[in-house]
Amino acid sequence: MAEMQGDLRLNSKTLAVEAPKARRRAARKPLLVVIQPYLYLLPAILAIGIWIYRPLLQTIELSFFEWNMLPTAPRTFVGLRNYAQLFSLPDMGRAFANTIVYMLGILPLSVLIPMIIAIVTNDIGRRARTIYRAMIFLPMIIAPVVVAVVWRWIFHPTNGILNTMLELTNLIQNPLRFFSDANLAIWVIIFITGWKLIGFSTLIFSAALSNINRDYIEAAQIDGASRIQIIRFILVPLLSPTILFMIMLTLLFASQWTFAYINVLTQGGPLNATTNIYFLLWNYGFRTFSVGWSSAAATVFFIGFSVIALLFIKLSNRLAFYDN
């Protein structure tokens, strides 16, 4: 368990570069010895260079062009025009607003509720804990497409078990059209995304909790602190690295997590109610073949998300209370 939290912290600072071990030997080594590390690295570097960094640079390049992806069609250099138009592009305003809704909607399911559950249920016995762990983690290993298909069945307006149950218990008169009601659809996608994450996130918080030194809690109890005070003044501050880490993950990945459900379940509809920035990039790229738009938006969002990540890492290093 201790190891778990250690790795988690390391993870929250993925950007920190490990200092090289100072093991420099005498100068003048044979060529093979000098290039040896690079030979070991070559396969991985090639794969990651060709399939991640090369396309990233090319996306930035393509963002200055107008092109429809046909190899025979001309690429027209348009300078910064794609960027200048960015927020007036079709559906961009809606996609951007929805993206914020997704982020804020998922946050309670990925951070607040899991943290509360982890704190409240921390008194559970070891054996029961193992069984609950195995069950609440299950959604995390199920493929997004399977998740989408199953929830589509459960949420089906006329035959789904949820509407059937709600009607049987007289909670509703008419079936809810979860995916075709423009007010409801985005919340259904948020719910499904949260369903997949909530157990995993709870386990992350419980791992972090079990790592907290019990002496603090006992000292506070001796001083007569109430349970609420212990949570407010001891547990939450000590959990702050994990809290920040989970908030960062949610903000950064909300759009990617929801993409699969949007693409399988709603295609961004009804009336663009569920589209988000990444779904829009996909549409620009592979539906309307507006490579320039897609690339310019991708570049801007990549930079934006990188800045958010950087801020969180800075904040985490400054604010975090480390239990030591």
């Binding site: 990651i48 008194d123 609440i136 298909v149 907290i212 212990i230």
Partner: protein, 282 residues
């Protein structure tokens, strides 16, 4: 006394009350997590006549939906594609990551920290920011709708390198030095000294990579356009869109698509959970 933490403090048994609130919360959460999966499996086993029944247990169990699903879409072919893809990706990702992590752990060399930072930063690059150039390259190579296209671009994993580097780094230097004095080459040290000792971490990373690769949706979506050339995830999506009301066969296909991962989870549930929690997110 409140029992806030479950830390290994020898609390007297009599002082321990049963945490009803915790059990209630966790039972609710467990139900929420397990019910959809249960409902998928149980729908797939119901006779077609009771497919809309809200009863949690079917009157009889039948494999009809599986047979229909198997004949309606090239499920066997797609499963085979997925097995080959996921196994190959896992194998090559482990291989390239072991080599790279060893290079980072064993030597200090020019460009080391830059390369490490570049690996760590890939985490920030979303699929949607690189999909168009990758699609173009795939098309130029003639790899669209092929297993090559599914596998080759995914033989490297920055995430696996970083995770393995953490374990390699903590490997005792003395053992490596002793092997070197005995005349072992670097290659020999890696495979005869380090690897056998870290087999457990490599294996649990392998399980994690296999599950991610099996469940991957983005990459196959980009590479393949025909279900028979794709993985079972894309096939399942195509099946769902093609006929909305074949719920039994659809749930059967979804169950088949989840089966390998569910089996791995049943057998290695502790390791799977630990490696997911450790790795932050995948």
């Amino acid at each position: 006394m409140t029992t806030i933490s479950n830390a290994p403090v020898p609390a007297s048994k009599s002082a321990r009350r049963i945490p009803y609130v915790s059990h209630a919360l966790l039972i609710f959460l467990s139900f929420l997590a397990v019910f959809p999966i249960y409902w998928m499996i149980i729908t797939s086993l119901r006779p077609a006549s009771e497919i809309y029944s809200p009863s949690p247990i079917p009157s009889e169990i039948t494999l009809d939906h599986y047979i229909r699903a198997w004949t309606a879409i090239p499920l066997g072919r797609m499963m085979l594609n997925t097995v080959v893809t996921a196994m190959s990706q896992t194998f090559f990702q482990l291989l390239t990551s072991i080599l790279a992590a060893y290079a980072f752990a064993a030597w200090s060399f020019r460009g080391r920290s830059v390369l490490y930072a570049l690996l760590a930063l890939t985490w920030l690059v979303p699929f949607q920011a690189i999909m168009i150039p990758n699609y173009i390259l795939l098309t130029q190579m003639g790899w669209r709708d092929t297993l090559w296209g599914l596998i080759v671009p995914n033989i490297g994993s920055a995430f696996a390198i970083l995770l393995l580097f953490q374990s390699f780094k903590s490997f005792p230097q003395d053992l490596m030095d002793a092997a070197r004095i005995d005349g072992a080459s670097n290659w020999g040290i890696l495979w005869r000294v380090i690897f056998p000792n870290l087999r457990a971490s490599v294996a649990s990373l392998g399980v994690l990579l296999f599950i991610s690769s099996w469940n991957d949706y983005f990459w196959p979506l980009l590479v393949t356009s025909r279900p028979e050339n794709s993985t079972v995830q894309i096939g399942l999506q195509a099946f769902m869109s093609s006929d909305m009301n074949l719920w039994g066969p659809l749930m059967a296909a979804a169950t088949i698509a989840s089966l390998p991962v569910l089996l791995v989870y049943l057998l290695l549930q502790r390791q799977v959970i630990d490696s997911f929690v450790k790795s932050g997110l995948r």
